[in-house]
């Protein structure tokens, strides 16, 4: 079955959008090329979730927010995430694709670190962007949503850390979404040899919820010995349908990529996260926590694909489903022929809080090499009534007992997240979402 998607942007509009942003010609052309593909390619097919009726195409495309540059003009929600202005080190905030605030430490600039919005990056570092943008990690023509993404990119950030530079303070990006705006956010991170960085991103909704679509792609490239910690807290409103695809291309020997993903959207979401371990001795670690509520349907697929020898891939996913939420958790560890001594391990656990919630955990090991080690564990269950009895027999109310069990269930993931600020945000968010 082929469903042709019609996106609410035509060639002329796209051309003029690109021109307004003074984009290089190669990018404008790539947009137009991708737009023609987007209508012809099929939707992705996330395993066990049917998304053909989801809203990926109904949204408005004109950026509504005007660029501001003052901390005071940021919304309360954004300021809460940012903290005090005096303590801001490296931060980019955007609303509906336009930058609203930017700060980068001077010493990072001096060392050649680039941390800027995608719009500026295309103007000032076009060659560098062109070298990586949707080349290896994510391809334009994978399906209609990657093509639509390449065509309609309207926000995001670019990070480049030169060889040997260790960025100590986290680089933080906050992407606010409002109204019916179609958010096509692209994050591109390049970590050269022996560099290191921590990047944290937040997606949040402001204002009242209107039907909208978000199409998010993040690409991370790591060279020899590079170390990247990538933290994300997705918290878009219920009316926003989200496709988010975060991929790491771990090319370098002994490079290390850590994902810490809080998947807390309230709307239907397809979230794909893939780590390609090419470099010999490279390491990929994915930790995700998810909460589903209302009637939302979500699909979380984590892939770790081992090409290099001695590669190690770890996946740990915990999810809590309440009310009538449905979620599929797919974990795929794939070890290619030649990836000797590779180790792939994964755990998926789902806790269901109601009779109407649905959760499914599918651990998959695909192994084409003999000399490897791999393991998986999965569980889907409800709160154990005997645990409830035990906790309540000490005086805890039903609500408090349930709260402790849920926290306990998520703690092995949240507590182990390598980025403290993401950990704190998630504790808060879990508290608000579960009760």
């Amino acid at each position: 079955m082929t469903t042709e998607l019609t996106f609410p942007v035509n060639e002329q509009q796209l051309q003029s959008f690109s021109k307004d942003r003074q984009e290089p010609a190669w990018f404008t052309n790539a947009r137009l090329d991708a737009l023609s593909k987007a209508g012809k390619l099929e939707l992705p097919k996330p395993d066990k979730t049917k998304i053909t009726k989801w809203n990926f195409t109904s949204f408005s495309y004109d950026a509504q927010g005007e660029a501001t540059s003052s901390y005071k003009e940021l919304s309360d929600a954004v300021r809460t995430l940012v903290g005090e202005e005096q303590k801001v080190e490296n931060l980019i905030t955007q609303k509906n694709g336009r930058s609203t605030y930017q700060a980068v430490q001077e010493n990072l600039r001096e060392q050649g670190v680039i941390f800027t919005d995608m719009e500026t990056a295309l103007k000032e570092h076009g060659d560098l962007v062109q070298k990586y943008f949707m080349k290896d990690a994510v391809s334009v023509d994978e399906h209609s949503l990657t093509a639509a993404h390449a065509a309609l990119v309207n926000g995001g950030v670019f990070i480049y850390v030169p060889e040997g530079v260790e960025v100590k303070s986290p680089l933080q990006a906050i992407f606010a979404h409002e109204g019916s705006f179609g958010l096509f956010n692209h994050v591109l991170i390049v970590a050269e040899a022996n560099s290191s960085l921590t990047y944290i991103e937040n997606y949040l909704s402001e204002g009242s919820g209107e039907e909208a679509a978000a199409n998010i792609v993040a690409e991370v490239y790591l060279e020899d010995g590079a170390k990247v910690r990538f933290g994300a807290v997705d918290n878009l409103a219920g009316a926003v349908t989200t496709y988010v695809n975060r991929r790491g291309q771990v090319n370098g020997r002994d490079a290390e990529l850590y994902w810490a993903l809080g998947q807390m959207n309230d709307g239907n979401t397809v979230s794909e996260n893939t780590t390609y371990l090419h470099g010999q001795g490279s390491y990929g670690d994915t930790k995700t926590v998810s909460i589903g509520r209302g009637k939302q349907i979500q699909n979380f697929t984590t892939n770790v694909i081992h090409f290099g020898k001695d590669t190690d891939g770890q996946i740990l996913k915990h999810g809590v489903m309440k009310e009538a939420a449905t979620s599929i958790f797919n974990g795929i560890s794939k070890i290619e022929k030649g990836a000797t001594k590779a180790n792939g391990e994964q755990t998926e656990r789902v806790l269901m809080l109601s009779d109407k919630s649905r959760g499914d955990a599918n651990p998959i090991l695909l192994i084409d090499e003999d000399d490897v080690t791999a393991g998986h564990a999965a569980s889907v269950g409800k709160i154990d009534p005997l645990q409830m009895f035990y906790l309540m027999s000490r005086g805890l109310s039903e609500t408090e007992a349930e709260r402790l069990i849920i926290h306990g269930f998520l703690e092995p993931v949240v507590g182990a997240l390598p980025i403290d600020s993401v950990k704190e945000q998630l504790y808060d968010l879990i508290e608000r979402k579960v009760y």
């Binding site: 035990y390 309540m392 027999s393 000490r394 005086g395 039903e398 306990g408 703690e411 507590g415």
Partner: protein, 260 residues
């Protein structure tokens, strides 16, 4: 202040349609320690679980009052907050929740927002009690009962007992699986609580725990009810002569529930 009291009359309890308790009755008051003894399968643990409100047990008839209130009208947590405590034979494991967080939440459960136990007060108290029970400091930060040995779980139950200071405690085979040193430590913890404001029901197979905690009353359970009661000397006699003489005296062929 009136002494706490637990009064049970003609209690009948079933699990999966099978009647286990058949007319059990007891009165426990502050200052009293009652030992409930009896061979396996006579309904002792069912009694403990039913009084606390275990979801698998159904009270089919009879009544229980706790400080004058209808116990079976209360939810499990309400019973606990009223001052009833059950040291369980098989406490649950709860991953991701540290012992300290759990115990502190429990201590604060019946306290008003502005009267919560402060972190300092808590630490002082738990350090003191853990010292008394000869428990390692790391215990606090381990997940609740997860990976605990049988003996560690028992000590953890007693630690919670000492931290929560209930009015009436039921100890369900707290001595099983403990070596003699651990038994002495646990006994020391329970003796620490002895006062007119604390009543206790100790369920046990063996007399040996009673060497360290002198009971005021000893009751023997068979076929789901108390068949004989006496003072500490009864426990001594059971230790020396076993249960056969009671069965003979009462004409009981098989003491287990559902075997008569």
């Amino acid at each position: 202040m009136t002494k706490p009291s637990l009064s049970v009359k003609d209690l009948h309890v079933s699990i999966e349609e099978k009647e286990i308790l058949k007319g059990f009755g007891i009165d426990v008051k502050g200052g009293e320690i009652h030992a409930i003894m009896g061979p396996n399968g006579t309904g002792k643990s069912t009694l403990a679980s039913a009084l606390m409100g275990h979801p698998n047990y159904e009270v089919t008839s009879g009544e229980a009052t706790f400080n004058g209130e209808d116990l079976f009208d209360m939810e499990v947590d309400e019973r606990a907050r009223a001052g009833l405590f059950l040291a369980m034979q098989y406490p649950s494991e709860v991953s991701g929740v540290t012992n300290a967080d759990f115990i502190r939440s429990a201590m604060n459960a019946d306290r008003a927002e502005d009267d919560q136990v402060s972190l300092m007060q808590f630490i002082r108290k738990i350090d003191d009690k853990m010292g008394m029970l000869e428990i390692d400091q790391s215990f606090q930060h381990r997940y609740l009962n997860e990976g605990f040995s049988g003996g560690e779980k028992k000590r953890n139950e007693i630690l919670q007992l000492l931290m929560l200071e209930p009015k009436i405690a039921i100890l369900d085979e707290i001595d099983s699986g403990l070596d003699i040193d651990a038994l002495k430590v646990v006994a020391k913890g329970i003796n620490e609580l002895r006062s007119d404001d604390f009543g206790c029901m100790i369920i046990t197979h063996y007399q040996r725990l009673l060497n360290y905690i002198q009971p005021d009353y000893v009751h023997v359970m068979m076929q789901g009810r108390i068949v004989k009661s006496g003072g500490p000397e009864l426990a001594q006699k059971l230790e020396e002569q076993g249960y056969e003489w009671i069965k003979e005296e009462l004409g009981i062929e098989d003491e287990r529930v559902g075997q008569e």
